[in-house]
């Protein structure tokens, strides 16, 4: 495993170039190009805002201050998370030919997917800032925690992406299963509702979902006034994410030799 990891480090430049290629290639040929990285989350936000504050205004969302901003804090990282996993599930099935013909560390492909998602996430941040300015939410030193929260999410996503990508090669069913699991996870995460509004038993259930803590952390840092009290959980989550990442890498390394044959 250590040997594999060293191999991976040697391919840093390749990962970098592949992320750049991913970004270049994605919007090649579309009129708006990279603008879609802004527009996609914005349009999604518009839909959710419409549903939860216009169609069903009676919901608990009414009790949240600056609801669209609150929503966006959850949707932006969630989009990164879910699209990374969905694309990872496909990455060897789509790029399988490559594995059979060129020798390079296979984990490069799912990692590139997650990193490209990170870039899209970062491109969405200016919109978030625009919202913050629009709602005149005070910007505090809490923001200093943001890089750590993003790092937590990065590790967690990479760990899961490695597992998902390697297992999907063997069990194609996982791709379809994953779509549904992610939908479940979306609603089991306080994104369209605040965690505090869920009944006590449900809160305990939601706490099992690692993304709950991420979403809450983003919300606390960006929207919720007052000092950031959730930092111990960010540290804890960091450790959990690191463990997930290691576990993911371990599973991937075990399945590595079968990938080129089965993909």
């Amino acid at each position: 495993m250590l040997h594999s990891f060293r191999q991976l480090l040697r391919h840093r430049a390749l990962i970098e170039s592949l992320v750049a290629r991913e970004l270049k290639a994605r919007y090649r040929g579309s009129a708006l190009g990279l603008l879609w990285s802004f527009l996609n989350p914005l349009l999604l936000l518009l839909i959710y805002t419409f549903v939860f504050s216009v169609v069903m205004p009676g919901g608990r969302s009414g009790q949240v201050e600056h609801f669209p901003l609150f929503l966006f804090c959850g949707i932006l990282p969630w989009t990164w998370f879910s699209s990374s996993l969905l694309e990872s599930a496909n990455v060897f099935v789509a790029g399988g030919g490559l594995l059979k013909k060129v020798l390079f560390p296979a984990e490069v492909l799912p990692i590139v997917t997650v990193l490209a998602g990170l870039v899209h996430f970062c491109l969405g941040l200016p919109i978030l800032v625009a919202f913050i300015l629009y709602y005149r939410v005070p910007i505090t030193l809490d923001l200093a925690w943001l890089p750590l929260i993003v790092a937590d999410q990065l590790l967690l996503t990479i760990g899961l992406a490695l597992i998902v990508s390697a297992l999907t090669v063997h069990f194609r069913d996982l791709r379809d299963l994953l779509g549904n699991l992610l939908t479940l996870a979306f609603f089991a995460t306080p994104i369209v509702y605040p965690l505090s509004q869920a009944p006590g038993w449900a809160q305990r259930f939601l706490a099992l979902n690692p993304f709950t803590h991420l979403a809450v952390a983003y919300q606390e840092v960006f929207v919720i006034p007052g000092p950031f009290t959730g930092w111990p959980r960010v540290i804890e989550l960091g450790l959990v994410s690191l463990a997930v990442c290691f576990a993911g890498y371990f599973v991937f390394d075990r399945l590595r030799d079968t990938l080129a044959e089965e993909a």
Binding site: R21, K100, K101, F171, D173, L174, D257
Partner: protein, 425 residues
């Protein structure tokens, strides 16, 4: 010093039929056999204990039929996949030309693809930047390097892929049947590049069906057949052994073919030259069997162009005949008559034909160029009315070391006056 060492390498693949059981989570869960399936016991062995060394600085050729395990072996040496058993060692930087341009992304420019492909093959960014102009020049794509790769023709695509791979400047280069890219001129350039590799003391391992390439370039060669080494050593001897085996196999296939399609009875066609294969006639006399014989009397269907051949007909007259002609015709596969004759044309006067008999048609030297030929045999009356006519029912394969063209090879020789010197003729 060896560049590649392969020791008793085996590679087993799960049979495709089993894959289905394993491919869905549901079935794996239902049969409860995830662990059992992962072991994959009913396997297909692509390689069954292959061992060889490639000395540093030599060019090593591997030949073998489709499915003999050549590509599997190459992939294992390249590190794509692990052997099920055995040991492979490669000393020095390795580059594999297994599929050219694998990993090119259609939407981005040739320039970006060169960088990414180069990095996948193990170059650093700086190394690629240094070699970039050379790569592009070799691929002859200076004008198009900034266009997206999806706009390239397949030749351009392959050339760029080849150019990147060859410019990795490896110590050990693996080549899998990729020379058939691009036009003649580009192929020559590739061959020159291989020659240059050789001069600079690099090691090359080639898998190809272009046998003359092996005899021309390789120091030792190996023939792989069904996952085992059949011959290893001097390329000329290996190739000869391989060709002999291929001929023997073709022979068996051709021998099996007429039995599969026993001559059908049919009415004679209106236009003989346009007639398809078949058999017709009034059957007062019959051709019972047709054999192609070598000079030593053994039956075969594959002959060397310079060999003597006897076409032997076993015939039977159901009643005594005094009006009969035996004829033979040789046709190329596209239906052109290469040669046809009969006893009447050659002036024979028939007297008597009764009971079982044999007719031999002897060619002292076959004299046809390499290819597949169909043979007509017939016995008929002098006015042409057939007793038994076999139209293109027999197939004969002619092989030749000389790849001349046309259909007929007349006996010939070359002479040169002083001032011209050649060798090899």
């Amino acid at each position: 010093m060896n560049a590649i060492e392969v020791r008793d390498v085996r590679k087993a693949y799960r049979r495709y039929g089993r894959r289905k059981q394993f491919a869905t989570l549901k079935s794996a869960l239902l049969s409860g056999g995830i662990i059992r399936d992962l072991k994959g016991e009913a396997a297909f062995e692509a390689l069954r204990g292959v061992s060889f060394d490639v000395a540093s600085g030599t060019t090593f050729g591997i030949v073998g039929r489709n499915g003999s395990g050549k590509s599997t072996l190459l992939k294992l040496i390249a590190g794509i996949g692990k052997p099920s058993a055995g040991d492979i060692r490669v000393h020095g930087r390795l580059s594999a030309l297994i599929e050219l341009g694998a990993g090119f992304h259609p939407e981005i420019s040739g320039r970006d693809n060169v960088y990414i492909n180069g990095m996948m093959l193990g170059l650093s960014k700086r190394e690629i930047a240094r070699r970039f102009d050379e790569i592009v020049a070799f691929a002859e794509l200076e004008e198009f390097i900034d266009a997206p790769v999806k706009t390239y023709s397949s030749g351009m695509y392959m050339r760029l892929g080849f150019s990147v791979a060859i410019n990795v400047d490896p110590d050990v280069l693996l080549v899998d049947e990729v020379l058939a890219v691009g036009d003649e001129a580009f192929t020559h350039k590739c061959l020159d590049k291989f020659a240059e590799f050789k001069r600079r003391g690099k090691t090359v391992l080639i898998v190809t069906h272009m046998l003359d390439l092996i005899t021309r370039f390789c120091d030792p060669a190996m023939w792989l057949d069904h996952g085992v080494t059949r011959a290893h050593g001097d390329p000329k001897r290996v190739i000869d052994a391989y060709l002999l085996d291929v001929a023997a196999q073709e022979n068996r296939a051709l021998a099996a073919a007429p039995a599969a399609s026993t001559p059908r009875d049919a009415s004679p066609p209106a236009d003989m030259n346009a007639a398809a294969e078949g058999r017709w006639g009034s059957r007062e006399a019959e051709i019972v069997a047709v054999d192609f014989l070598r000079s030593d009397g053994t039956a075969s269907h594959v002959f060397d162009s310079g060999e003597p051949v006897e076409i032997r007909l076993r015939v039977r007259a159901h009643e005594p005949l005094s009006d009969f002609v035996f004829g033979v015709g040789i046709f190329s596969v596209d239906g052109v008559c290469c040669y046809g004759t009969n006893t009447d044309i050659e002036g024979a006067e028939p007297a008597e034909f009764r009971g079982d008999a044999e007719v031999g048609f002897h060619l002292d030297r076959l004299g046809l160029v390499e290819g597949t030929y169909k043979v007509d045999v017939a016995v008929h009356r002098r006015n042409g009315a057939p007793y038994d006519y076999h139209r293109q029912l027999y197939t004969m394969r002619v092989t030749s070391k000389v790849k001349d063209t046309g259909t007929f090879r007349p006996p010939h020789r070359w002479t040169f006056s002083s001032g011209i010197r050649l060798s090899g003729l």
